[in-house]
Every structure is written in C-alpha cells, then in structure tokens.
C-alpha cells in the first residue's frame, strides 16, 4: 500500500559503508513487515485459535451462519468506535468517553425523532434528522475533548474521564433515566436488515474501517497522526499545527461515536442506557490488542478490526459453552494487560539499539 515501490538500490555496497550491518532490515516490504513485526499477526492467530476451540467444543452451535452473523453484528458498532479510538491512541492519547458519547448521541437522536408525532411511523426525513443530531452530538463532544486536551493542556485521561461522566449524566437527564423505546420502524429495519446474507450494520462498519485504513495510511491526515504520536516535538518543529490536528483527531473519534450511537439505536430499537458500561474497555482493548501502541506512533486499523473480534468471539463462545458471560470481561482485561506488556517489551528492546 505505502512505501512498497520495488526499485533496486541505486548505490553499490561500496558506497554504503554501514550497509552490511543493516541490510537484513531493509529488505522487507513494509506492510507485510508491519503486520508481522507488530502484535497484529499474533493476535490474529489468537483469534483463530479461539474460534477453533469454540468450534471444536460446540460444532453444532458456534460455527453456524446464525452465530457468525450475530458476532459480526455485535462487533459492528464496537468496530466503528474503535476505528476512531485507533487514531486517538496513535497520537499517544486516549479517549475514555466514547461509550457514553455514543449513548448520549443515541439518546439525543431518539428524543429528537420521538418529538415528531406518531412514535414509530415516521418518514426518512425524521430519520435523517436523527442521524444528523447523533453525528452533531458526537462531533461536539469530540471537539470539546480535543480542545481541552490540545489547547487547555489537560491530560487526555482526565478530560475524557470528565466528559464520560458528563455525557452519561446528560444522557440520563435528557431521557429522565427512561430508555426511549419509540424508534422509527424504518430505522429498525436497517438495524436488522441485510444485503444478501450480510447485515447492513456489518457493511457500514466495514466501510468505516476501510475508510479509516485509507485515511491512516494514504493521506496527510494519517501521516500527521502517526508523526505527532511518534514525536510530537518533531511535528511541532516541522511546522505542523499540532494542536489543531489533535482537535481533529478527537473530533473524528467523537463523530464515529455519534454514528455508533445512531446504529446502536437502529439495532436495539431502544437507547439501552444501561448497556454501554463496557464499551470503553472493549474499544480500547480492541485497539491495543490489535497492536496499536499506547505510547503512540504505531498502529493499524486492520489490527483494530481483528482486536474487536476477540471480545465479540469470547462473549459469544462463553455463552454457547455455558460459561457466565462475565468471564468475557475478565478475559478481555487480562488480554489487554498482556498486549500492553508485550508492547512495552518491544519498545524497550527498540530503545536499547
């Protein structure tokens, strides 16, 4: 994709006195090497092993079309917010607020749509209005996060912990603590609808992930995101407006959380106020498990997509083999710590060079 122009070296070895020592590193083709060198390849193996184990234990229940579709659909909304989180974490930041920004956006959209007459029978114009409200809500929270982090210099951990609480509280206030259950019928159709055998939600999530991968690897926005995460001072000295870029990155994360909130509405046909406690953990875990470094500068959207399926597969698998699904939280937490530990080791060995 990037940096894979296969030209032969222009200079002879005689022109490169230090070449023999480093020749081995230079031969790889970057994308493949990036995959193999990061956790991504390993975590893909872990995912395959998990699928194999669950399939072997319950061959009649786990590897079925129905279950695969359920896992993919459940993972869709998580993938969308995890793509935004990937960009944030590559800048060496963190966004803890995504789960409740998602909830707030969903509630705001649902309340807006409910305000128009007959609760469930509404036109596409009202649905579109709901979508815009959800996107605008997410974007606003994201810009607030970005502004406080980049301009006011409050640590991202604290800012997004604060907006997590604020978005949660305001969502409860807006809905009076009652789930909004009147979702337009047409919207619910999208939530469970399919294009041939593939649910619309899965298609949308895939589109977001592919767009995210292109944005990260092929555009200036992605290049600055990686560069700022890699060495913020270098970016500043290179004349890049670091503050403005960070605001954009958090805005993107908020925007995708808003989209996620709207799609969750379509899928569950209710606001599910109490159902988002784990979204933050799962999104951050997916990103980090997928090989994105909490120290910034390193990460892929492909890795995140694989990372998203680990909690999704665990949850489904545990339910099917009859283990309490709470064990999923325990397992995801442990895998998260393991992934960060491996990243630490890698980084330390690199700094010893």
């Amino acid at each position: 994709m990037n940096g894979t122009i296969g030209e032969p070296a222009l200079t002879s070895p005689a022109d490169r006195p230090d070449a023999p020592v480093h020749a081995a590193e230079s031969t790889g083709r970057s994308l493949w090497r990036q995959l193999m060198g990061s956790n991504t390849a390993w975590i893909f193996v872990v995912l395959l092993v998990l699928v194999a184990i669950f399939s072997a234990m319950k061959p009649g229940n786990f590897p079925t079309e129905f279950n695969i579709r359920a896992i993919a659909t459940n993972a869709s909304v998580l993938l969308i917010i995890a793509v935004g989180e990937t960009f944030v974490i590559i800048t060496a930041g963190i966004d803890l607020s995504v789960g409740y920004v998602l909830l707030f956006s969903g509630v705001a959209a649902a309340e807006t749509m409910a305000a128009f007459g007959d609760p469930t029978n509404k036109g596409w114009d009202v649905i579109l209005l709901g979508l815009l409200v959800a996107l605008a809500s997410g974007l606003a929270w994201g810009i607030l996060n970005g502004f406080l982090i980049a301009k006011a210099k409050v640590p991202a951990l604290i800012v997004t912990l604060g907006t997590l609480g604020m978005a949660w509280g305001l969502a409860e206030i807006l809905s009076n603590g009652q789930d909004v259950r009147y979702i337009p019928r047409e919207l619910a159709t999208i939530g469970v609808g399919r294009f041939f055998a593939v649910p619309w939600l899965v298609i949308l999530a895939a589109v977001v992930a592919i767009a995210g991968a292109i944005l990260l690897n092929m555009t200036k926005f992605g290049r600055y995101t990686i560069g700022i995460g890699s060495n913020q001072e270098a970016a500043r000295r290179a004349g890049i407006n670091v503050e403005r870029h960070l605001i954009k990155v958090y805005a993107l994360s908020g925007l995708l959380a808003g989209l996620g909130g709207f799609l969750a509405l379509a899928y569950f046909t209710t606001t599910t106020i109490s159902g988002h406690a784990n979204d933050n953990l799962n999104a951050i875990a997916a990103v980090v498990i997928g090989g994105t470094s909490l120290f910034g500068g390193v990460g892929t959207v492909i890795g995140t997509a694989i990372g998203v399926f680990i909690p999704a597969v665990l949850q489904s698998g545990f339910i099917i083999i009859g283990i309490q699904s709470f064990w999923q939280n325990v397992a995801v937490g442990a895998v998260l710590i393991g992934a960060v530990f491996v990243d630490q080791l890698r980084r330390r060995s690199r700094e010893r060079r």
Binding site: V21, E25, T219, G227, G229, G239, R353
Partner: protein, 255 residues
C-alpha cells in the same frame, strides 16, 4: 564585507530565574561557516532555539537580510529559509526516511485525490532517494523506519532534511556528536556545500580541532553573551579555550 545574512542583537532569554541569554549578539554572513562555541551553559543551544523559532526571546532583535523580523514559530523560521538540525534529533521514529524528509511539506497526489489529502508517496520516495544520494546518505534510508536506523544514519537523515529545504541559513546543534569518522566527514562535506551554494551554516561543536578545521569564523558565547569573534585562520585551540573560559574577554569584536 557584505551585509550580514542573519544578525541577533541583545537577545535576552530567561527560564524562571535562570538567565540563559543576557544580551547575546550574533552575526553570520552569506557563504560562510560559523562555529558557535562556549562552555556548557553558555547559552549556545538556547540562542539557536531563539533564532530558529522554537523559543521566543524575552528581549532583543533579530535581523534577517537587513530587516527586523519576528520568528514566532519553527514554521515561520522555515518560511524565512532558516532550517535547524537539533541535538535531540527532531525526527519521527515511526516514519521512514522519506516521510521524515517531507514531514510537514508532503507532496500530494495531483488532481482531486491530492485535494482530498492523498499523499504521493512514490514521488516523495523518489526524490528522497535522489536527495540522499546527492548528500552521500545511504539511499536505503528513504524506505527504512527511522526507529531502525543507527544514530549516525538518523543524524544523516536530519542533516539531509535541513539542507534539502534551504539555501539560506542552516543551524546544526552538535551535528557530528553521534557519528563515526566516515559519516562525520560526510556531514562536514554537507556543511561546506551549504557555504559553497552561498548559504550560511552555523554549527555548535565541542570538538575544537574540528571547529578550526571546518569553520571560517568562530563566535564564542560565555554566560549568555558573545565574548569573542575570531577568524579560524591563525587561531589556536588555546585561544579558543581561553575565550570560552573568560581569560580572553578583551578580544571582544576582534573579527
């Protein structure tokens, strides 16, 4: 002598109670190599940071080509044609050599795709290889992540980055500190090439034989002020050391 290319007049900079620069002066002329020397804490790095826009002075004046200018940020310095190679190398380790060379000045794809923000990586790699080849830097570095390069290779990329973008003024803060003999010679060649193109190269170094070997002129800082200016020709290491330690304060303005 011609008009100075870049001048600093009475630059003051303090960090809290610490006065790093107490009215420092500095001059550099077109087509010359100036060594900026001084003991630790003399204010050399701070002066370079002020002149390259990384730090804002608390007082004093910067004059570029006869015009008083304000260098609010590194971006402004770059617009003026002032590039800097920092002691703590300002490279992004997770990007490759070409991406670092073009960091902040990316080549975009032609047409609509470029307007949408798509990078022309092929073009950037091609011209990075060319630039590296011209400077005697290993062209393979264009494709390697900087994290995987040795200290010397990183230094070469940083030097290549600065001289690719300006013909005017290049500051180099201890450019050969991390280098072996061969690479040191190459970097010094690059410095001479800046001068031969009519630009000014200013380098900080603690290596006195190297200073006398490469520089045309030497400016000495002590305790945040310029205390001596001397031509390299005919100057001895003993004189440099004397100026740095204060035994030679009377020679102010000797150039």
């Amino acid at each position: 002598m011609a008009e100075p290319l870049l001048q600093a007049r009475g630059i003051v900079k303090h960090y809290g109670h610490v006065e790093a620069l107490r009215g420092a002066d500095f001059d550099v002329y077109p087509a010359e190599i100036v060594a900026l020397i001084g003991d630790n804490g003399a204010g050399k790095s701070t002066l370079v940071k002020v002149l390259s826009g990384t730090e804002q002075p608390d007082g004093g004046e910067i004059i570029l080509e006869g015009r008083a200018v304000q260098i609010d940020s590194p971006a402004v310095a770059q617009q003026f044609g002032i590039e800097t190679v920092y002691q703590d190398l300002a490279l992004a380790p997770d990007l490759d050599g070409a991406a670092n060379l073009y960091f902040g000045r990316e080549i975009m794809l032609p047409g609509v795709l470029g307007k949408l923000g798509f990078l022309d990586d092929r073009a950037m790699h091609a011209s990075a290889r060319k630039a590296f080849a011209e400077l005697g830097v290993d062209v393979q570095n264009a494709h390697r992540m900087v994290a995987n390069l040795s200290g010397g290779q990183r230094q070469s990329v940083a030097v290549a980055r600065s001289v690719t973008w300006t013909d005017k003024v290049v500051f180099l803060d201890e450019p050969t500190a991390a280098l072996g003999a061969v690479q040191t010679a190459r970097v010094l060649d690059v410095i001479r090439r800046i001068r031969d193109r009519g630009g000014a190269a200013i380098f900080i170094s603690h290596n006195m034989p190297q200073v006398l070997q490469v520089a045309d002129r030497i400016e000495v800082l002590r305790l945040g002020r310029r205390v001596a200016r001397m031509d390299a020709a005919g100057t001895t290491i003993e004189q440099l050391v004397a100026a740095m330690t204060g035994a030679l304060d009377s020679r102010e303005g000797a150039a």
